[in-house]
Amino acid sequence: MKVAVASGKGGTGKTTVSLALAAAAETPCLLLDCDVEEPNCHLFTSAEPWRTEGVDVLVPEFLGEGCDGCGSCVRSCRFNALAGFGRKVMVFAEMCHACGGCVLACPHGALREIPYPIGRLEFRHAEGFELITGVMNVGYAMAPPLIRQLKTHLPTSGLAVLDCPPGTSCSMVTSVRDCDFVVLVTEPTPFGLHDLRLAVETLAELKLPCGVIVNRAEPGVPLIHDYCQEAGLPILLEIPLSRQIAETCSAGGGLLDACPDLKEPLQALLAQTLPGLLAGRSVAS
């Protein structure tokens, strides 16, 4: 089962929850850190990477020979990553989306594709689970290709948890698609609710089932509960607002260090609640 942990709003506790799910799981679990711009999961384990894999995208290289200045390549590029004049073509690799269109368009074989490094994957044996972190090079702008490469390491069966980037744009979509279930972590504030709605809208378009974890929950603040009831979304868990949890996580500790009582509910979530929701059986909240 592939469980994505997303949110809409940044800072709601996706990483905290992802780590807790992976640590609590009773079956072997793989955790993928898909927030490749600002990955954080690895900060909460003392394990060093046992393997690192560079990630490249294929960008064009102008070979020169054979070019007759027809301009087909430049015309094919919708990202203006090529400049052509005379019989010369210049490539702006940082703007290239690696679509391969220019090489296909060239009738003379004057372009070929070469790897352009965009980041790396780091593999760690964390405490109780396997962790793979995607790290995008600072200054490179496009996260999706790195996230796609990271996801090629998903197993065909077994449990995987994906810590997703905030927001609802291409990076988040690339992370959540083809997962079985999306857990949305939110907080009971207007920001949390506003961004939760955006995330739910996005998942509806992708036809992905989802449920909500309310983090920093406060009694007497039914903001998120009211919305979930109206939208027909299950509330999977509530994590109380607690200075102790905040301090523990600030220092690099995990949710289960601060709140060992959450272990059982998290295990039940993975072993019973989510499979139940996926099978269409109604589950008592």
Partner: protein, 120 residues
């Protein structure tokens, strides 16, 4: 020689447009005929990204030997340099003034871009 000036209007009396990549218009001045023609740069202005690259290609296609502007970004500069087109920077407010300064040899050739690139 052919020189391109980045302009806000259709003649040498117009004000200079400070930016190369998203200049409203180019004025193409031909030293042999002293004639000035207007080259539209709308395509670059509308380009979501790579405007500087587009503008540079327009300039090159027009056969420009030199470009006179106030601000040229790094990608545009790379393209112009590669094509052998010299870039001259000026703070002159009007195109006529900028061209005169150029003809008098008072403008210095730029050795690099003088503004940072924008993502678009």
């Amino acid at each position: 020689m052919k020189v391109i000036l980045t302009s806000q209007g259709d003649s040498l009396d117009a004000a200079m447009d400070a930016r190369f990549g998203r200049a409203a218009k180019f004025l193409l001045w031909d030293s042999s005929t002293q004639a000035v023609s207007v080259v539209d740069n709308q395509q670059s202005m509308d380009a979501p990204q790579g405007a500087g690259i587009q503008a540079a290609m327009t300039a090159i296609k027009q056969g420009a030997n030199a470009v006179i502007t106030s601000h040229c970004g790094p990608k545009a500069f790379r393209v112009l340099q590669e094509a052998g087109v010299k870039v001259y920077l000026t703070k002159a407010a009007k195109c006529r003034e900028a061209l005169q300064l150029f003809q008098d040899g008072k403008l210095q050739e730029a050795s690099s871009a003088n503004v940072e690139g924008h993502w678009t």
